[in-house]
């Protein structure tokens, strides 16, 4: 197969099919390193603290948060939107890039999809806690209850219930179906023992039969086709929580595409933050190469620029529409009491990603790591700015107020980090971080070894 010399190999080093299996399953065999235990312990500590904060929230009620009558949504909804956004990179990589036949996705799709699932779990916690009393969560589902009432299908908050739960279910199914062949690889490597039995059950009896592969491929393609519009719909619907209201600063038609771009932007930043560490810790530099990091940085600069344009469009429309309330909302964002949040958002989301226009920075791991964290911070502040600064000075100056979170809200947020990282540490220990079978299927066209040998695998 002819491969353009301009195209970087996706797998470097002389890797045969067997090397791929060995390298990727290696971190799962033997004892985990000290670093893994330290990481897991830290994550569990954060999770425990979050658990305590949740206990306080449920026991004392939502009054333990810093919300007031003017600002009804604070950190809780900020974190919800932020976590949902983080998840979008996984589905974008596994669905949209699959449909676009981007081969570089095979090195990062599995871990990014895992992050999607963990992030949506974290996100889902916030609306539930925001209800104050957890059993109220029942009432968001349309079931024939004793009061004969149905939910309001006209409400974007209800659309969210359907969007997030569908998103979680479909992501989980897609991820696990892709994982089955790789779990089978681990099963066949293990000698007898309890681990082998567990992986045998988890592998669903996968054998790699040609008929199964044929079906698996057509299923994956259709699932990707379904997941692609799904991922676009999820953050669009999240944005409608704001856009369909009449609050100045929320009531804009640009929200759905702007939120989707922002979600992919922040999701890729999170994937980069974690994968730059993971590839080093698990010795996967041959599979997640600098070329992969560069490709992701290109997505960051594209989506980051869309977000930047959206910010400017909002400002322009606030002036051009001639609506005084709208204009005030934006002047207040930039120069009001929360000016610092607005300028953190602008710096982190609009200015820093533009550095990726330079190839040197795009291909520099340390710089990418730092910028990816900036993007994560910036995107969190974007949601904070949208929610808090739009609410805190409403139509009646007599009810203007300020908001700051209590330790309980901060604790719940830290707890979701604990949950996310606990899951992530367990994932990298017990499941292959890279899709083994998918790497093998692109090895001949994109593996350094095969390009040199003219596309032959030699035992």
């Amino acid at each position: 197969m002819y491969v353009s010399p301009l195209r970087e190999p996706l797998v470097t080093g002389a890797k045969s099919y067997k090397d791929v299996t060995d390298d990727i399953t290696k971190p799962m065999e033997g004892k985990p390193g000290k670093l893994w235990y330290v990481g897991l312990a830290t994550a569990l500590l954060a999770l425990g603290f979050g658990g305590f904060a949740i206990y306080v929230t449920v026991w004392e009620g939502i009054g333990s948060w810093g919300l007031n009558r003017t600002i009804g949504w604070g950190w809780g909804i900020t974190n919800f939107v932020w976590w949902v956004g983080i998840g979008h990179a996984g589905t974008f990589i596994s669905a949209i890039l699959l449909l676009f036949r981007q081969k570089w996705r095979t090195s990062i799709n599995r871990s990014a999809e895992a992050m999607t699932i963990f992030a949506v779990m974290c996100a889902g916690l916030f609306p539930l806690l925001h209800m104050g009393r957890l059993p109220l969560g029942f009432f968001v589902f349309p079931y024939p209850n004793t009061r004969d009432l149905w939910v309001n299908f006209n409400s974007p908050l209800l659309w969210d219930v359907f969007a997030i739960s569908t998103y979680f279910t479909v992501s989980l199914l897609f991820w696990y179906m892709g994982l089955i062949p790789d779990i089978a690889s681990i099963r066949d490597r293990l000698k007898d023992g309890i681990r082998k039995q567990i992986y045998t059950v988890l592998s669903f009896g996968w054998t790699g039969s040609a008929r199964h592969w044929s079906r698996h491929e057509s299923m994956s393609l259709i699932l990707a086709g379904l997941a692609a519009p799904l991922v676009l719909s999820v953050h669009s619907i999240v944005s409608m929580d704001f856009a369909t209201s009449v609050i100045p600063g929320w009531h804009t038609t640009i929200f759905p595409p702007y939120f989707v771009a922002g979600a992919v932007f922040s999701g890729f930043a999170m994937v980069l933050t974690l994968m730059i560490i993971t590839r080093k810790a698990l010795n996967l530099e041959n599979y997640i190469t600098v070329g992969h990091v560069e490709s992701m940085n290109k997505v960051i600069i594209a989506t980051g620029s869309i977000v930047g344009i959206a910010y400017l469009t909002e400002l322009f429309m606030a002036w051009y529409s001639g609506v005084v309330y709208e204009r005030y909302a934006f002047v207040n964002r930039a120069f009001g009491p929360y000016w610092w949040a607005y300028w953190i958002m602008m710096t982190c989301n609009v200015i820093t990603p533009q550095l990726f226009w330079f190839k040197k920075i795009r291909r520099n791991l340390a710089a990418t790591f730092v910028i990816s964290i900036f993007v994560n911070i910036g995107m969190w502040f974007e949601r904070f700015v949208i929610i808090v600064t739009s609410l805190h000075r409403d139509f009646l100056p007599s009810s203007w107020a300020m908001y700051s979170p209590t330790w309980v809200e901060v604790g719940v947020y830290i707890g979701t980090f604990g949950l996310f990282f606990t899951m992530f540490f367990l994932f990298i220990r017990f499941f292959p971080v890279i899709a083994i079978s998918e790497i093998k299927s692109v090895l001949k066209s994109s593996g350094e070894n095969f390009i040199k040998k003219g596309g032959r695998n030699e035992k």
Binding site: Y17, K18, T21, P142, L149, W150, N152, F153, N154, P156, L158, W159, F162, A163, T166, T169, V170, L173, F174, P181, A184, S185, R187, D188, R189, Q197, T200, V201, S203, F204, G205, W206, T207, G208, S209, A210, R211, H212, W213, S214, R215, H216, E217, S218, M219, I222, L223, L226, L230, S233, I237, S437, E438, K440, S441, G455, R456, N457, E458, K459
Partner: protein, 179 residues
């Protein structure tokens, strides 16, 4: 009763596998199964595997999910408990679209996955019949069922001449792992 004896040939390269299979088929020997570590393109055509009907199943289930979701919302707001939201129409079609779309996707995805599992006969605790443990690693394996002892030497010869690098006789019931 079908015999439980198989002759397997292992290839180390997917190109060799495809040419090998064609040679085996030319000799009039039918192949029981082919096991590969990743989906090999062109294998479906060579083995004459019919295109899966899963996409059709997904479409039907998705359409059903969408219709049910839309009908349910319509029924709730026009028949079961109509509520006047600020004088807006009871049947407000645009606001029913998100839930309709989500349920269409949900139904399609769930039916695809379960359809795949049921049609392939796999699932948690499904028995694993393994001819060779290296097929999930780097081996491409062709398995041919032996119905009659007298065929053994012929099949072995055909497999070797078709480029198989390891030819073995296996009885998978012995390697089967019941869970």
């Amino acid at each position: 009763m079908k015999s439980n004896k198989f002759i397997t040939g292992v290839y180390w390269d997917d190109k060799d596998l495809l040419t090998g299979i064609k040679e085996i088929q030319d000799k009039g020997i039918s192949i029981f199964d082919v096991r590969t570590p990743f989906p090999v393109h062109g294998l479906d055509d060579v083995l004459k595997i019919k295109r899966s009907r899963l996409p059709r199943l997904g479409f039907i289930a998705g359409a059903l999910g969408g219709v049910l979701a839309f009908y349910f919302q319509m029924w709730v707001f026009t028949q079961s408990w109509p509520i006047n939201f600020g004088g807006k129409p009871y049947l407000s079609v645009p606001s029913f679209i998100p839930v309709t779309f989500e349920l269409a996707v949900l139904f399609a995805a769930i039916s695809l996955v379960f359809g795949f599992l049921i049609r392939s006969g796999i699932g948690p605790g499904a028995p694993v019949i393994i001819f060779d443990e290296r097929t999930t690693d780097d081996a491409f394996l062709v398995a041919i069922q032996v119905n009659d002892e007298s065929e053994v030497s012929n099949i072995t010869e055909v497999l070797s001449s078709a480029g198989a690098e390891e030819v073995k006789q296996v009885e998978p019931s012995k390697t089967e792992q019941d869970v």
